[in-house]
């Protein structure tokens, strides 16, 4: 029989990594969707992105102590932490980073794509010295996400991953990325070989964790992972706890339960109804940290289905729905009713285009009369308190929400109630799970449903939710095409262009695509156009903007990050690296 040594002064810190389901059989590999490598604990990127309102290039240093970007943004030179060591005691060097880049290539995605002509791809990795390394963007390609693409790369030990790679790996990358038509066949073969390698690598994991982060994985069972402090971590003196117990995430209710039992030192963002918040806050030491969240929940329409193709109808619905009531039912603790429908969260919109421009947007305050006028204008008529379509059919529809999204379900029911009271019989109905929801909404099976929008801080990402693939616009190989409603995942089905008062005829898809290439400081005009377009055309009604609310318990540890900390969206392991979370004396 064996027994674990008890945790020392620092104690065991208990929390949940909401992004990671615990899987006892999964490899210790940060790329694996369910790998037993936890960001900020034993999995480290070069740097952690801050939760900045508008600038997606702001980072906290991690394995990279500092970095320099060339004027055109195409070259990033990285200085590694001089004291960085792996948990087995060996030094971390530029070789490790080059291996990490190789693995990232093998697995593809983001700047590590090897498809010739892909915008913003990485071209070359050069070791400057043992603690310095340079990343160069492929010539010809340009994309303003290169820096964060590099910094987000997971850092892996060469001692473990090197043997998994063929000696000529970088030649394969070069060959695969070649745009020379003469070499097309070899290039394809090289890419296939890399893909095959990726298959192997993603399932690969060392038997024992070799970590450069503050913690090393100690053991995993089906419901929790236990990590112990890595004595070789470069910032080890900032790390408070000796051990971290990461419990499995199975649902909000479970987190509420842990919190009311005082079993967690902190929890990730969890949508929570008010009555439960009150229960949790009753627990001694229990507190909330609130901060920025760059996500909005919106009511989306399928414009292929009448009468949602009518602008007046969409606007009328915006006038009819009391968004603060919806928020109160759906996300009482973790949301703020959206003031305008602009495609961006309120604060970001103000930053990007200024208060004055935002002020010009229509707030769609509840206004029955206006809604009735608009509906009548769209050809509907009211009979016995119920709205009828021009065809004589009553105007009713189903509002679809995915099961398990407790805030959406509640909000959906409330919207249904509100609209039904206004004479439009709406039924909120759930799909069996998110997978079904995803598939069926993309197939255009739903008349209306919920959709996450305004994902920041990159405005391109935010507007791509509205005017991207879901609305018919797809970019491939540097070219934008538009698919007809109902085809290739276009379920929103807006018109390709529309005229906006004072701005003329706009193509929102094109504008959005421009955002991915425009330098950030030149994008304001485009954003104004898109905001105005969105506000007037209402492809979706922005319901509430999320607030990042996290519960913490200060009984065992204190010195948590303050409200609105730019680190709030990062894992609590990162908080520890920043010096937060110290055991109570």
């Amino acid at each position: 029989s064996e027994s674990k040594p008890q945790a020392k002064a620092g104690g065991t810190y208990t929390t949940i990594d909401g992004n990671h389901a615990i899987d006892p059989q999964a490899p210790i590999n940060p790329y694996a969707g369910k790998g037993n490598a936890f960001s900020g604990y034993n999995a480290m990127p070069l740097a952690f992105r801050k939760n900045h309102l508008t600038d997606h290039n702001q980072h906290y240093p991690a394995v990279a102590e500092s970095w320099q970007v060339s004027a055109d943004g195409g070259e990033v030179t990285i200085k590694l932490q001089p004291k960085a060591k792996w948990s087995d005691g060996t030094d971390l060097t530029a070789e490790d980073i080059k291996t990490s880049a190789a693995v990232a290539f093998a697995l593809g995605g983001s700047i590590f794509a090897i498809t010739p002509g892909t915008t913003g791809a990485l071209g070359e990795v050069t070791i400057v010295d043992s603690k310095t390394i340079k990343f160069t963007q492929a010539t010809g390609a340009r994309n303003n996400t290169f820096l964060f693409g590099v910094l987000a790369m997971w850092v892996l030990p060469k001692s473990v991953y090197g043997p998994q790679l063929p000696a000529d790996f970088w030649d394969l990358v070069k060959l695969g990325g070649s745009a020379d038509p003469a070499k097309a066949v070899e290039a394809k073969a090289a890419r296939d070989e890399i893909t095959a390698l990726g298959k192997k690598l993603i399932a690969f994991g060392p038997a024992k964790d070799v970590s450069v982060g503050p913690f090393v994985l100690d053991s995993v069972n089906a419901s929790e992972a236990i990590l112990v402090k890595n004595p070789h971590f470069y910032g080890v003196d900032k790390i408070g706890p000796d051990k971290v117990r990461l419990r499995n995430y199975t649902g909000n209710e479970q987190i509420w339960n842990y919190l009311t039992a005082g079993e967690l030192d902190s929890a990730p963002f969890t949508a929570t109804p008010t009555n439960v918040v009150n229960e949790i806050l009753k627990v001694s030491g229990s507190k909330q940290i609130k901060g920025l969240s760059q996500v909005s929940a919106a009511l989306a329409f399928n414009q292929k289905i009448a009468p949602f193709d009518k602008l007046e109808v969409r606007q009328a619905l915006a006038y009819l729905i009391d968004r603060s009531e919806v928020q109160k039912v759906g996300a009482p603790d973790s949301g703020k009713p959206a003031e305008h429908t602009s495609g961006l969260i309120e604060d970001a919109a103000k930053q990007w285009i200024g208060d004055a421009e935002v002020g010009k947007l229509n707030a769609y305050s509840v206004d029955k009369a206006k809604a009735e006028a608009l509906l009548t204008q769209a050809g509907l008529s009211k009979k016995d308190g119920k709205w009828m379509l021009a065809t004589g059919q009553p105007f009713t529809f189903k509002l679809q929400v995915p099961n398990g999204f407790s805030d959406w379900v509640a909000a959906g029911k409330n919207i249904a109630s509100q609209l039904t009271n206004a004479g439009i019989a709406v039924e909120a109905t759930t799909s069996a799970d998110y997978a079904v929801y995803q598939k069926e909404i993309a197939e255009g099976k739903y008349a209306a449903g919920f959709w996450l929008i305004a994902l920041g801080p990159s405005t391109y990402n935010a507007y791509a939710r509205l005017y991207g693939a879901a609305n018919g616009w797809t970019a491939f190989g540097g070219k934008l095409t538009h698919n007809a409603p109902g085809a290739s995942g276009n379920w929103i089905g807006s018109a390709e262009t529309a005229t906006v008062a004072g701005l003329g005829t706009l193509n929102p898809g094109e504008l959005t695509y421009q955002l991915s290439q425009l330098p950030v400081d030149q994008s304001k005009d485009t954003i104004i156009k898109l905001a105005r377009y969105t506000n007037e055309q209402v492809p979706m009604i922005q319901m509430w903007n999320y607030v990042n609310v996290q519960f913490i318990n200060t009984t065992r540890y204190d010195n948590y990050p303050p409200d609105n900390c730019e680190c709030l969206r990062l894992t609590h392991g990162v908080w520890m690296q920043l010096g937060y979370i110290q055991p109570k004396k």
Binding site: S1, G33, R49, I202, A222
Partner: protein, 333 residues
């Protein structure tokens, strides 16, 4: 002995055929399910706050691991893998062999189910005897009604009530997990076993309470019918002691329960989805539920297959046990 072997062989063949049918059925059924795991993964990451390109790169790697090729070929591959106990790899957790995951989860569910059934069997049988002997009294009547009621109440109701009272209201039992990995490490020693028992207690109790009513009812009717048998009267008239007669009665009455036992395994295993979900106990039920949500085809088939196989094996064991205990069958060889 030859008879026993023949019976065993018959059971195994039937069991294998059944498993094959289940495999085929689920294989094709599951492929009918809507949803694309890649898409699910992507949107889930976004919903959890990951940026779209981060989410894209995290999910892109999954692509290419979704089984390709004509369905019949996949089917044959799956079958041939099955023979080697290879259930394929998880679509959702890259690099995880379904068999590992399923066999990892299996013992925990079996632990719950077995201990639940065992306890409920003992309690149910004893109370069933009482209910039968006191048939015409208020005690017997209320015992049967209570038994029927508990038999009728679905397991999830019992689990909810137990969870509400003993883990939420009074925090006497842990709110989930198989053991506290922070305090004990797996091994064969007192602390670990104690911790496992502590974690398994409530879910197992839910299984037990949900199934004890069935035993009570079965035992009651079995006892009632044995009571009508002449050999008991004969034993009385031969002056056998009360104790001896009771043993005669009990053994004869329990025997038919073994067939019920077999069927109850199916029901009880089915209930594991609820009970594990409510008690947050990561066993096969949770695995199945989670893999359905994630559209993890291979994991889903694996978990479902394993549940079915467990039921079939339990059926066979129950029947063989019956064969062994009942001389009328045993000696037929």
């Amino acid at each position: 002995m030859r008879g026993f072997l023949r019976r065993l062989a018959g059971h195994l063949t039937r069991g294998l055929v059944m498993i094959w049918v289940v495999v085929t059925f689920t294989f094709f059924l599951i492929r009918l399910m809507p949803g694309d795991p890649v898409q699910v993964q992507y949107e889930k990451l976004i919903a959890q706050g990951m940026s779209p390109d981060q989410a894209a790169s995290a999910t892109a790697v999954t692509y290419g691991f979704v089984p390709h090729g004509p369905v019949w070929k996949q089917y044959l591959e799956y079958l041939s893998g099955l023979i080697r106990l290879d259930l394929g790899v998880s679509v959702d957790s890259q690099g995880v062999a379904v068999a590992d995951r399923v066999f990892g989860a299996m013992p925990w569910t079996v632990l719950l189910v077995l201990s639940g059934i065992l306890v409920s069997f003992l309690v149910g049988v004893v109370l069933g005897v009482v209910a039968a002997l006191k048939r015409s009294t208020a005690v017997g009547h209320s015992l049967s009604i209570a038994g029927s009621l508990l038999h009728g109440v679905p397991p999830f109701v019992i689990a909810i009530v137990l969870a509400a009272v003993f883990t939420r209201r009074y925090r006497w039992f842990p709110s989930g997990g198989q053991y506290n990995g922070d305090e004990v490490a797996p091994g064969f020693y007192y602390d670990f076993i104690g911790d496992v028992a502590y974690h398994a207690f409530l879910p197992a109790a839910a299984f037990a309470i949900a199934s004890y009513g069935g035993w009570l009812l079965a035992m009651r009717s079995s006892v009632a019918s044995v009571l009508g048998d002449d050999f008991l009267l004969a034993a009385e008239l031969r002056g056998l002691t009360r104790m001896t007669r009771f043993r005669y009665l009990a053994r004869n009455a329990i025997l038919p329960l073994f067939t019920v036992l077999a069927i109850s395994f199916g029901l009880v295993f089915g209930g594991s989805i609820f009970i594990e979900r409510i008690f947050n106990y990561p066993g096969l039920g949770m695995l199945l539920f989670a893999s359905i949500g994630a559209r993890d085809f291979s994991m889903m088939s694996g978990a479902f297959l394993m549940i079915t196989a467990a039921v079939i094996v339990a059926n066979i064991l129950a029947d063989l046990l019956y064969t062994f205990i009942d001389p009328r069958v045993r000696r037929q060889a």
